[in-house]
Amino acid sequence: MYTIPVLLIITFIIAAVKKIPLYDSFTAGIKEALKLIIDLLPYLMSIFFAIELLRASGLSVLLAEALEVPFSLLGIPKELSELLILRPLSGSGSLVILQNIYDSYGVDSYPARVASVIMGSTDTIMYVVAVYFAGSKNKKSGLAIPIAVFVSVAATVLACLLCKFI
């Protein structure tokens, strides 16, 4: 609860000490954000299309049911199935699912809290590895993806466990 205001006040103090103009920084920052969102909107809308179709067709229920057994073995709530599928692939897409989880189950519910922790502690593996190795002469990424996937699954399982206590 205090994280955001504390972070903001630290930034404003740094700005005062280093004599960085705050108004200029905010207008420039918002201009950047506007550019980012215009770039992001086509991706967001495509993901929303796919998710809304999954919901309307009822296939998301089937998907969650199909994943229920392996997920319950790992202690992962089945509400997270869509998020876990999309998280390694798409940053904007998984934000969409996160918002859906907040809307459906409430932001303080167990699935929503686990989803928040997963969003904050994992990243878009496929994108990062693909892009980082694209600039390298030797494009073989070797064990990078298997290791990153294994670590993310372990982090997810631990997050499910941890959120029961904290």
């Binding site: 420039a28 929303f48 299309f49 692939l89 809290r113």
Partner: protein, 215 residues
């Protein structure tokens, strides 16, 4: 956080053939930016084809309403995200001008010297800047720095180390998630579990790369 703003590729392909071919292709061969787009094309292609195909028999009248409500939701969601990014990119602008990322980069140098042995000083400069940008959550700034450092690296093991550390997230404060939660009036805190999991996953990632990757 990294955003998947890969350039559109204009190659059209037959979906089912491409699914089988590309999946095996992707598993066997390395993964480039183009391949990333293939993966998203496959996943997206399967989902929308399966859904519309299924709804053709179950609820054909609901296809267009679903697309419309999804599209409308994406616009209101991007307005929300725009405001969240407006705040945090502005904060990042201040932090960037204050030189805090270079300060953190300097503090990280002893660690990166051990994690990425036998690389040039120039390469280390980019590695530390990449990691500090990522710690602060400046994904947009981190990605080009990461690409640059991988390009300068000699050792394959070091490349995998940097990619895995970045791919398992090292952001200290998940500003977007916290803001989305605050907007919904969240009463519970997720910072503590997020930090614990982050430390755990980064440590596990470094250990696994150190142990499993040869050379």
């Amino acid at each position: 956080m990294h955003f998947d703003l890969a350039p559109q590729n204009h190659r059209n392909f037959n979906i089912i053939g491409a699914i089988l071919f590309r999946l095996t292709d992707w598993v066997n061969i390395s993964c480039g930016r183009q391949k990333y787009n293939y993966i998203m094309n496959i996943v997206f292609g399967i989902i929308i084809t399966a859904c519309v195909g299924y709804m053709l028999f179950t609820a054909p009248q609901s296809v267009m309403p679903a697309l419309l409500s999804g599209g409308e939701a994406s616009v209101s969601f991007s307005v929300k995200l725009f405001v969240i990014y407006g705040v945090w990119i502005s904060v990042m602008q201040v932090l960037e001008k204050s030189g805090i990322d270079e300060y953190i980069a300097k503090a990280l140098t002893p660690i990166t010297k051990r994690l990425f042995p036998n690389e040039s000083a120039e390469c280390h400069k980019y590695i530390t800047l990449n990691l500090s940008a990522n710690l602060l959550g400046m994904g947009g700034a981190a990605t080009p720095l990461g690409i640059k450092s991988v390009g300068l690296m000699q050792s394959q093991k070091n490349k995998i180390m940097l990619a895995v550390i970045n791919a398992t997230s090292i952001q200290i404060i998940p500003t977007t998630v916290l803001s989305m939660r605050a907007a919904m009036g969240a009463q519970t805190d997720i910072m503590l579990p997020t930090t614990i999991i982050n430390v755990f996953s980064t440590a596990l990632a470094i250990t696994l790369v150190a142990v499993l990757v040869k050379r």
